[in-house]
Every structure is written in C-alpha cells, then in structure tokens.
C-alpha cells in the first residue's frame, strides 16, 4: 500500500455527492465515524475500496471519497472476496444492512467468515428493511408489525453475533450508531485485525423502526442497560458507582450480580477474554435475552487465523517456485507428435 503525501483529514473522505438518507437516520453517524476513523488511521483514498450490497446503508460508498462499488443485494462479501484475491494489498471494507447480509446474503457472510478473508464488514442493523420501505428483517423481534407482517412477525430473529460465532468468525464486535466514540474505536480495532472482522452496528431507522434500540441506548438508561466488554477486565456495568457485573452460571448462562453483594468480590469475577480458546463465553453473551440482561457492546471475539488471500498467494508463490513453465511448454503438454 503506497502512502499518501500528507495525511488525509476526515473531510478528505467526504465525496461531493449529496447524502441521501432521511434526516435523522442513524446512517449519518456511522458515516461520520468511518470518516473520522479512516483519517485517524492515516488511510489514503486510492487503496481503499468500499463495497456494498443494496439497501439504505448500501448507498454508503457514494459518500466516501475512495473507490466504491455498489453491487447487488446480498453479494457484497463475494465481490469483495474477489477484489482481495485479485489484489490482497487493497484495504477492503464491506457495508451492508441486516437484510442485505443476513437475509439474502446470509450464506456469503458465513462463508466469508469461515474463510477469514481480510475484509472489514460493517453490518448496519436497524432491524428493518429500510430501502423497500419497511418490511421486517431477520433481526426484527418476534411480534413486530410491519408492512409484510400486519399481524406481527412469527420469525425468531437471528443474533448476528451468535451466527458469526457459529460460522467460526475470528473478530466479532458490536457498537451503536449514536455511541460515536465507541464506534470509532471499534472501527479502528477491527482495522487492526488480520482476517474478517464483523462489526454489528445498531442503527436507528427513524422512519420505519424508530426507537428500536432506545430501550438500552438512550442516555438515561445506557449505563444500566449496556455492558462494555473490555479484554482482560471483568464485565462491570451500571450507572455511576452501582457496581454491577455479568458473570456466568453453572449452565454457562450469563447472570447479573452486584459487586460486594452476596459474597461477590470484583477479584473473583471472570475477566473478559475475546481470544479464549473456546467461543462458548462469547456465544453465551451473544444469545442472552436482550430484555433481561444488559446488552454487551465491544469485542466478542478476537482470535488469529491465517488470512484467506495470504494463503492463496502463498500457494501460488509455492507453485511458481516449484515449477517454472513457459506458455509454450504449457500449450505443448506432455505428449506430442510432429507432422511434416
């Protein structure tokens, strides 16, 4: 990756295209966070490629002054994989919505995760189909009334985090559109990861699903209703001073305890380890009921595995080292005869 002459600022990542999201849409905050993080990370414009599917969120590339490819519904990870295999040096980001990447694109997502292609995936989860004007999505809660479920949805929603863990993801995190600083820090963290990094971002669609996350993201309840996972630290949370924590019961399910009560000492609390040998603890947090427990944000999982494109190239290099063959030799093959 060549470096730009002078480090670019956040503004340098803004394209000249009018941003076309509804006023108040959570997508604005995410765009802002990405531009901030990219500037912080010293990225340049010409090595950066942003690939999206279809959805409100997927218009993202148009607003970024980098290379961008707005592909077709659900297929961004596949196109991005091709880009990486063609040129592993490129810095490739995938932008997708809950419908785009979990409904029509679910298969490409899980295969990308298992292969560990060096892609950074931002999943804008607004628990609704925005662009098509308000049908329920695979992350919409049961009972939700939408245009296509006038009597309420009967589908059990996916947890994108648990699905990713099940697929063998090496880096999985979660943030929120309006948690500006946290969001920037997560984008920076995933940038450092070698392999596929999937960040679920809770995003408010104020037109078709307004307030979907308000129950735990609103300022007044935020501290009580979310818990930030920090590597090496216990899962403490609670509004100022109220030292609550999440730990795991005998059945490996998360439970809330209060530090200092019922014999719970802070020192005894398990330290969060996103790089643990087993993804079980991350799975436990990812599947905890949203209404009964504080919602975890931060890094669920962060482990190392070789990148797919590196292995592809390594294999090619090895093959090249092992066998040099001219085009002529290739065309000729092993068995020939001559006429004339």
């Amino acid at each position: 990756m060549s470096t730009a002459e002078s480090p670019l600022t956040k503004k340098d990542f803004k394209s000249d295209q009018d941003v076309r999201w509804c006023p108040g849409c959570g997508d604005y905050g995410i765009l802002n966070a990405v531009q901030t993080a990219f500037a912080n990370l010293g990225k340049n414009r010409h090595d950066t490629v942003i690939i999206s599917g279809i959805g409100c969120s997927s218009r993202f590339p148009y607003y970024m002054e980098t290379f961008g490819f707005h592909t077709i519904h659900g297929r961004a990870p596949s196109v991005a994989t091709g880009v990486k295999l063609a040129n592993p040096e490129l810095d490739v980001w995938v932008i997708s919505g809950d419908g785009d990447s979990l409904s029509i694109g679910g298969n490409h997502l899980i295969h990308t995760l298992r292969r560990n292609v060096g892609l950074k995936i931002l999943l804008f989860n607004n628990r609704i189909y925005g662009l098509t004007k308000g049908q329920y999505s695979p992350t919409s809660e049961k009972g939700k009334r939408t245009k296509s479920t006038p009597l309420g949805s009967i589908d059990q929603p996916f947890s994108p985090i648990s699905l990713a863990l099940g697929a063998g993801a090496t880096w999985v995190g979660r943030s929120v559109d309006i948690f500006a600083q946290h969001l920037v820090s997560m984008i920076e963290a995933m940038d450092a990861h070698q392999g596929t990094a999937l960040l679920e971002i809770y995003q408010n669609c104020n037109i078709f699903n307004d307030g979907a996350f308000q129950g735990f993201t609103e300022k007044s309840v935020r501290d009580e209703r979310t818990v930030e996972m920090r590597a090496g630290e216990p899962l403490l949370f609670g509004p100022d001073g109220a030292k609550k924590a999440v730990r795991f019961d005998a059945g490996m399910a998360p439970q809330v305890v209060t530090v200092g009560e019922g014999g719970v000492a802070e020192a005894d609390l398990p330290k969060w380890d996103p790089s643990a040998g087993s993804p079980a603890a991350a799975m436990s947090l990812a599947t905890a009921p949203e209404d009964a427990l504080p919602v975890p944000i931060g890094v669920f999982r962060d482990v190392q595995r070789p990148k797919y494109e590196d292995e592809t190239i390594a294999q090619m290099q090895q093959a090249k080292a092992g066998k040099q063959e001219s085009l002529e030799a290739l065309l000729t093959g092993s068995e020939t005869w001559t006429v004339g």
Partner: protein, 628 residues
C-alpha cells in the same frame, strides 16, 4: 516400439476405423479409450472421440443405466466426428452389449467378455436368453474372450487382491486392440508407469495384462487379419497434441491472459460437465492463476466480477443451471461495464435434466436470460481445438470492450478430443490491455468516458492514485458515472450498451464458408454440431449437391457475412440440439425462412441424420421445381 511387436503379421490397410468400448461404469472404459486415443494421436492419425457417460450417479453394477461408453475414430484423412456406427465394439458385459450392439456395423467385430455372461448378469441387463447363444449376434464377427479368467491367470503371481486384479481386465482388451490395429504400446506403458508411480504392484499388473492381451491376440489366431491405418497425410505441418474441449478452453484463457499481461482469477462452483475447467485451472497456479471454489454460483460470478474490478481477468465457469443462478450478477457486470468471461458448458435440460448428456439449449438463455435490456457478446466452441480460440477470443473481446462475454461450450465438445496443432506463441493475436493511468492533478475522474471507437470505458483499477470513483448496478450518467434517473440518459445508456456489443461485428472475422457462397441448401449451425455438419456437407458436396455450410463461432453479434449467405440459398436449414434457438434469432433478425432442424435427445447429431435432412430438403426443392 516395444518388444511386443511381432515380426510378421497379416494385415489389411484401411482408411479409418471406429471403435467403441462399452462396459460398466467401474470397468474403466473412459480410461481405456483415453489410452488408445493418446497412442493413436501420437501415431499421427486424425482422431475424434465421443465419451458417453452414464448418469452421474453410480448405477448398480451390470445394469443398463450403469453402462459407460467411449468411441474413438481414427483415420488417414481429415475427419470431423467420432463417426456414427462403430466397426469394432468391445462389450464388457451384457448391459453394454444390449445398449450398443444396435449401432455396430453389419459384419463388424464384436469382442465380448464371456466371464460376465452368467445368468445373473443376463438378468441384470434384462436379457431373456443368452445373446451369445441365441443367434441374435449372427450378423457380427463375434470374438468371445474370457477376459476375467485370462487376466487372473496372467496375474497369478501378483500380490494384488482379486478385486484389484479384475480391475486390470480392461488392459487385456486394450492389448488385444493394440495388436489388432498395430498400435504402439509405449505411450500407454509410460502413462501407466506415471499414473501409478506410487503403486509398483499396480503398474506391474497393468503392464503384464496389457502385454498378455497383445500376445493372446497374436498367438490365439482369433483374428483372421489385423488392420493398419496409415498416418494422416493431409495435416498441416506442425507439432500436435491431443486436446479435450474443456482443456482447450482453459489453455485459451490462460494464453490470452498471459498475452494480455493479466492475472487470471476463476470463481467457480462444481457442476457437470464444467467441473474440469475448475480442476484444470487449479493446476495452473504456477502460471499465476487463482482459482476460487465458491459456496455457490452466485458467489463464484460475484468474486470474478470483484477480481475484474480490481484488475484481474475474472472468469466464471458453470453449466446451464448455474447460468440461471448467475444471471442477476451478469447484469451487474453489464451495467458496471467490466470485462468478465462467463463459460456455460451446456448439458441436457431443462432443470437438472440429464447432467451427463449434451445439448445446445442455452443459447437463448445466454442472449436474454437477464432482467432489462442486457446484451452481451457470445462466442462458442465448435470443436475441442476450437475451444482454445473461443476462450482466447472471449478474453480479447471482454478486455477490449469492457464487457462480460459468454462462452457456450457443451458436453460433447467439452469431453471430446481431437488432434490440435500447437500454436506458435508468436502467432497468437496480441491483446493489449491498458489500465487507466494514475493522475495527481486532483481533477475528477470520469469512469464512463468512452473510447470513441470501441465505446469501452476505462479500466480504472483500485490502488491507482487519483482514480477513486464509484460504480454500481443503478443506471448511471454517461461520462461521470454518477447515479442518474434522467429519462434521456437512460435511453442513451441502454442504446450505448447495445451499440458497444454491435460494434464488435466489425472486429471479428467473417464466418467460414464450407463450399460455394450460393446454392440450394445452406446448413448454418454453431458450436458442437460443427463436426457433424462439416462431415455431412463434405459428403453431400462430393455427391454433387449444391450444399454449403457455415458453422458460427460468434453468435452475438453475428458475423457480417451471415445475412448475404442466408439470402443466397434456396433453403436454409439450422441444425441444432434444441428446439430451434439460433433459427429463431436468424428469422427475427433477417426475416429469412431459416428452418430449424432439431434433435433433443442428449446426443450429438450423426452426420447421417444431417445428410438425410438435407436430402429431404433437396427433394422438396426438386419437387417444387427448384423453388423453396
């Protein structure tokens, strides 16, 4: 020459021979056929082969659905098909006999393995009585050999178990044929040695049985005469190899990519009969080829599109059902105006159809199987060797015009083989690819500013400074590439994408004409029927009929001489293995009464069928006083 060459042998000199092997899927018929083919090719005969696979799932041993066959025709003259009816049939079991004996020429040589004509075997093939005994084979020169017993005897001392020994019996049959047709055994000996290098016992056994078969034929006197076919003399001087269709396509693609200086990236998902393209290209990693077996066809084509976007030559290969799945993404490539090669090795449809059988019924899917007005160039492979050029041309057109190109092959071309004159690298057409150049002036880059001649947009590869821009599947303004809902711009872009494809007509050769440029009957075909059409036309011409043929490699746009030719014959017949797809395109475009001549049986045309069809048309013409 090996030590098995006998000193003297009665022989008959022939111009050509057609041999068919038929046996159970497990009997190694394809392998045996392949050995004989290589040997024969190396000995300088012209050859053509037709492997006929059973359904892709194993049938119970000895039953009709399990029969696998391989036909080889070799000659001292220029041939175009593997021949209609064989001179020699090797039938390894009753089922094979039942399926194939009907095709054997009258008085033809019929070699059967008597070991597998027990009552249970006959029952599996649903024979009421033993054909070896009931006189039903009287019209043939029946040679009964207990291959199993002879093989076992030969291998008495071998450490192999009985099952493995029995597997060698096809080598006994091969040995017999090598004697019968004066074939050199050395290439096969080398091949067997290489193939089983890690299993010396298997090598020993196979070679022993091969030679035993040869000696048996020599000594037993079961044949009155042996046969010789002199090397083909008509062939253009040069170095030749034997080439299968899928292989030819791969070589064409790699050669073109190398000429263009591009890395080739294949995104594919296995499917019969296209899988061998994935297999073959994955052995070319040392040529900088990247292969990606995706989770499905959609991911495969999308990865290829991504690779092309990033400056590689993206390729994707599949068969008809896979094309159906890829059609939405191909539309994206048309809209994004990216080079891409999409290969459809057609098989018998619709739906899952008959996966191991050939057909040409995806032409209209290739033309129209996408939403909206979404034209793309189409080339096809006419013979195994022609597949090389089809692949090569597809790359040339895709990169020059920034457009996805469809390559139509079919099961018959893909698995068939023929001698191929290895081209000189220097003779390969140049393919000049230029990426858009980096710019540091800070000005806006215009991704849809077109080359005035080709209408191609620049290939602006990520990683190039100053070229950052956004593209996608929404309609875009010409020049700037920004999203545009402007009605006039849409019309302009739709017509421009069509025009870009149309302009390719000036950049491809006129179609080859076999015969005069006017006359009574014109046969116009495409792809895998080329061999049969050529053979039939030559025979009809020899018989003095005013028949010409035109076998297209370029299907969209059509070569510039098609229209004149169509208008210069009293009758136009369009032989196709479908219900009349090219015929429809020709009729619509030229308002010419091009008549479909079709067959939809999962089998290629025999040249006889075509001759009959033309004769009928000629008779009709004569009956009408020379008017169509």
């Amino acid at each position: 020459m090996t030590d098995t060459e006998p000193t003297t042998r009665e022989f008959t000199e022939l111009d050509q021979i057609v041999i068919r092997f038929a046996g159970d899927s497990g009997d190694g018929m394809q392998l045996t056929g392949d050995q004989l083919t290589r040997t024969t090719a190396i000995m300088g005969n012209d050859i053509a082969t037709f492997p006929d696979f059973p359904a892709e799932i194993r049938a119970p041993a000895g039953t009709i659905p399990g029969v696998s066959a391989f036909q080889l025709r070799f000659s001292n003259f220029d041939i175009h098909t593997p021949g209609d009816d064989p001179d020699v049939l090797v039938a390894m079991n009753p089922a094979a006999l039942k399926v194939h004996v009907g095709a054997l020429k009258k008085n033809g040589v019929l070699i059967v393995n008597t070991a597998s004509f027990k009552a249970t075997d006959l029952k599996k093939a649903k024979y009421e009585s033993n054909p070896l005994e009931d006189g039903s084979l009287d019209g043939y020169r029946l040679i009964e050999v207990d291959l199993t017993k002879l093989t076992r005897e030969t291998l008495e001392d071998s450490p192999l178990d009985t099952r493995s020994k029995d597997r060698c019996k096809n080598m006994f049959a091969l040995g017999i044929l090598y004697w019968l047709f004066h074939r050199d055994m050395q290439p096969s000996i080398d091949a067997i040695r290489a193939k089983f290098a890690k299993k010396p016992d298997v090598v020993d056994a196979n070679l022993k049985v091969l030679q035993a078969g040869y000696h048996f034929a020599d000594i037993s006197g079961i044949f009155q005469s042996s046969y010789k076919v002199a090397p083909a003399s008509f062939m253009q001087p040069g170095t030749y190899r034997n080439l299968m269709g899928n292989q030819g396509l791969c070589l064409g693609l790699v050669a073109a990519a190398k000429q263009a200086g591009l890395q080739l990236m294949l995104g594919s998902y296995p499917i019969t009969p296209a899988s061998d393209i994935l297999h073959q290209l994955s052995t070319y990693k040392h040529h900088g080829v990247v292969t990606f077996q995706a989770e499905d066809e959609i991911a495969a084509v999308c990865a290829a599109i991504g690779a092309s976007y990033a400056g590689n030559l993206g390729i994707t290969s599949t068969s008809g059902p896979g094309i159906a799945l890829k059609s939405e993404a191909i539309g994206l490539a048309v809209m994004a105006e990216l080079p891409l090669v999409v290969i459809d090795v057609q098989r018998a449809g619709p739906s899952t159809g008959m996966p191991t059988k050939t057909e040409q019924a995806d032409l209209l899917q290739a033309m129209f199987g996408r939403n909206g007005e979404c034209p793309l160039p189409i080339v096809c492979a006419r013979t195994p060797g022609d597949a090389f050029e089809a692949g090569y041309e597809a790359v040339r057109i895709a990169t020059k015009y920034m457009v996805p190109v469809m390559v139509l092959s079919d099961g018959y071309v893909a698995n068939g083989s023929e001698p191929w004159r290895i081209p000189d690298e220097a003779d390969l057409p140049k393919i000049e690819v230029e990426y858009a150049e980096e710019r540091t002036d800070g000005g806006e880059f215009h991704p849809y500013l077109r080359d005035p001649e080709t209408l191609a947009r620049p290939w602006a590869v990520p990683g190039t400074e100053g070229l950052h821009h956004r593209i996608g599947g929404l309609e875009k303004a010409d020049v700037t590439g920004h999203i545009s809902y402007d009605p006039k711009n849409h019309e302009h872009m739709v017509r421009t994408r069509a025009e870009k494809v149309e302009r390719i007509a000036a950049d491809i050769p006129a179609a080859d004409v076999l015969g005069e440029t006017s006359g009574d009957v014109l046969l116009i075909g495409w792809g895998g029927t080329t061999g049969a059409i050529t053979a039939a036309t030559l025979r009809l011409q020899k018989a003095g009929h005013k028949v010409s043929a035109m076998c297209l490699r370029y299907l969209n746009p059509l070569p510039r001489n098609v229209e004149t030719m169509l208008r210069s014959f009293k009758t136009v017949l369009v032989p196709e293995l479908n219900c009349g797809q090219l015929a429809m395109l020709l009729r619509a475009k030229f308002l010419v009464d091009a008549r479909p001549f079709t067959k939809v049986q999962g089998l290629p045309f025999s040249s006889q069928e075509l001759e009959d069809g033309v004769m009928e048309a000629l008779n009709r013409l004569n009956a009408n006083g020379g008017e169509a």
